[in-house]
């Protein structure tokens, strides 16, 4: 019997593509023969805009790359600029930065868990995930006055010091979160249907995964013990005690479990950060409106000129963002605007592995594997 191949277009507007991505699937019945990814539906030309803005004006644009975890984007860009210009940052600012980074890692993984389970058909987890996310966003709102697009980490420090009553609320959140993660594990991890959907799906060897450029938690699910926070320590991570979460199976379930472990680890880091937070200097000028751009050094930012021109040069600087290796390649020609900004986004490189990963699987498996890769389209298309 001769059968025809069926061509299915999933997307760009499809409930489970996390935005606007398109899969061109060549199907044999329910089996995927070939998967081609078409992207660019959210290509906004951020890199070109970077050449048209000053160094300070580009910070808000980094918020909108990976819009679920904006703090790491801010920080990766700011770190590159600071490396380029050789700026020292006060210790308190570094601690605040790490605090926000780890908090944002939890938020990112919550959203990822929720949308993964929503794609698998369980609508409840996303509500629980967003419930806790909302608590974290209240903290962000308190800290920097926005819920998703923060523009908080600036070259030379952070925008403002922590407000009154922030640390107690943070502690409340941390303690609450412990129990919530137990709830999630009880709800999802042991579920037979969930395991049946995830175990042995989207398997890839560690060699392949590295070759396909996967990074971050997705790679750690393949048994590669790697974390930029350990390998190239930045900020105050060398002073903090944490372990790298690795799973060896290399399937969707392992990638999911790495996320759960990382949330616990982030809580552990947050506790240490709260304990080790240097006290705010007295006579801090960090009142509203007096921020790094006015050039006045405060407890959380060094002197930073209003017209900032870094020396000519090139830098590639990267951090461990919640989704993987996030790097900024900045070329400066000594003017107030960068000559070229290249964003190495984790989602883009992780996505390269999908066509290989899903060959011979079915559409539901594609959704499961795609969910565990954890892609944000703003980050893919930039």
């Amino acid at each position: 019997m001769k059968t025809d191949e069926l061509l299915i277009n999933m997307g760009p507007v499809h409930p489970s593509t996390h935005g606007v991505l398109r899969f061109k699937l060549t199907m044999d019945g329910e089996i995927i023969k070939k998967c081609e990814i078409v992207m660019g539906y959210l290509h906004r030309g951020t890199e070109k805009l970077g050449e048209m803005k000053t160094y300070m004006q580009f910070v808000p644009y980094t918020d909108r790359l990976d819009y679920i975890s904006a703090f790491p984007n801010n920080y990766a860009y700011v770190k590159a600029v600071e490396e380029l210009a050789g700026i020292e940052v006060p210790l308190r600012a570094e601690y605040i930065r790490v605090l926000t980074l780890e908090l944002n890692r939890i938020v990112n993984h919550l959203v990822m868990l929720g949308s993964l389970l929503l794609d698998l058909g369980a609508s409840t987890m996303i509500m629980y995930g967003f419930r806790e996310r909302e608590n974290a966003l209240a903290l962000f709102d308190m800290l920097c006055g926005a819920r998703m697009t923060f523009n908080y980490i600036k070259p030379g420090g952070v925008r403002e010091d922590m407000p009154e009553g922030f640390i107690p609320k943070l502690n409340e959140f941390i303690n609450d979160m412990d129990k919530r993660i137990d709830d999630y594990e009880q709800l999802i991890s042991g579920n037979e249907i969930f395991m049946g959907r995830m175990k042995g799906i989207g398997v890839m060897s560690a060699q392949d995964a590295i070759n396909y450029g996967m990074t971050g938690p997705s790679l750690r699910g393949h048994g590669v013990n790697y974390d930029i926070r350990k390998l190239e320590p930045y900020s105050v991570y060398p002073d903090l005690d944490f372990k790298v979460c690795v799973r060896n199976e290399g399937d969707s379930f392992a990638r999911y479990m790495v996320r759960i472990d990382e949330m616990r680890e982030s809580l552990h880091i947050l506790r240490q950060v709260v304990d080790a937070m240097p006290p705010a200097k007295p006579a801090s000028l960090a009142k509203y409106g007096i921020a790094p751009m006015t050039g006045v050094p405060t407890a959380v930012s060094t002197y930073f000129p209003r017209i900032f021109t870094p020396p000519p040069g090139e830098v590639y600087s990267r951090i461990e963002a919640p989704k993987g290796e996030l790097g900024f390649y900045i070329v400066s020609d000594g003017t107030i605007k960068p000559y070229r900004i290249k964003i190495r986004s984790p989602s883009f490189c992780n996505l390269t592995a999908i066509p290989k990963m899903v060959e011979g699987l079915m559409i539901p498996d594609l959704i499961a594997a795609f969910g565990t890769i954890d892609v944000v389209l703003g980050d893919v298309d930039r």
Binding site: P12, Y41, L42, H43, R44, V111, I126, Y128, R131, E134
Partner: protein, 204 residues
């Protein structure tokens, strides 16, 4: 600037044309109460034509404004806040809007939530055309309103109202879920005041 058929160039808007419409209910709560069953049906008295028909119209209008099913079409950052709006803390289900239909055939309302790139624009337009009448569009966030942060970019459409008619604009980048719900309340207000034929092109 008429190039490319742009109706309004956001950079050079003539400020003299701006009019302020006086709205009777001021706060969000007033507006919500103003779109209740009784006040919606009583609004039939202010309409022209037979009171019976306009009353039936108003009942239909109330049904429409109280069960707006959005189509699942997140484009960018604002889509995450759209999800947050539907989630437990803000719970847009209170307005009967939690049924996010994946198929535009069954939806009444489209949130254009995020940057409309040149490449996405024909798809957004097609999605809108696939929706059955009566249908409404809410443009959310700076990107969809005017192009916002990416207004100087080479591949971003400068406002979604260039391709489809927009009923309510919600500013914010992205707007808070509360701002989102306020926009929904504004749309309810608009639906309340519209005639049965207004969307169908029968009268007016």
């Amino acid at each position: 600037m008429e190039k490319g058929g742009f109706r309004v160039d956001p950079l050079t808007i003539d400020t003299t044309k701006i009019k302020f419409t006086k709205k009777q209910p001021v706060t969000a709560l007033d507006k919500l109460n103003d779109t209740g069953l009784i006040s919606t049906v009583l609004a039939a008295r202010e309409r022209e034509g037979l009171i019976l028909f306009s009353t039936i119209d108003q009942i239909f209008n109330w049904a429409r404004l109280s069960s707006l099913w959005p189509v699942t079409s997140g484009l960018a950052c604002c889509a995450i806040e759209m999800m947050a709006t539907a989630m437990a803390h803000h719970d847009v289900a209170r307005f009967g809007m939690e049924i996010f239909r994946a198929s535009p055939r069954q939806a009444d309302l489209m949130f254009v939530a995020g940057t409309v790139t040149k490449r996405m624009a024909p798809r957004v337009k097609k999605l809108y055309e696939m929706m059955p009448d009566p249908k409404w569009v809410i443009s959310v966030g700076s990107c969809a309103n005017t192009g916002g942060p990416y207004i100087e970019s080479y591949c971003v459409l400068k406002g979604v109202d260039l391709i489809i008619p927009v009923d309510v604009y919600i500013p914010g980048c992205p707007p808070r879920p509360e701002a989102w719900i306020y926009g929904i309340i504004q749309l309810r207000e608009k639906i309340k005041n519209q005639g049965y034929g207004a969307k169908w092109g029968l009268n007016k």
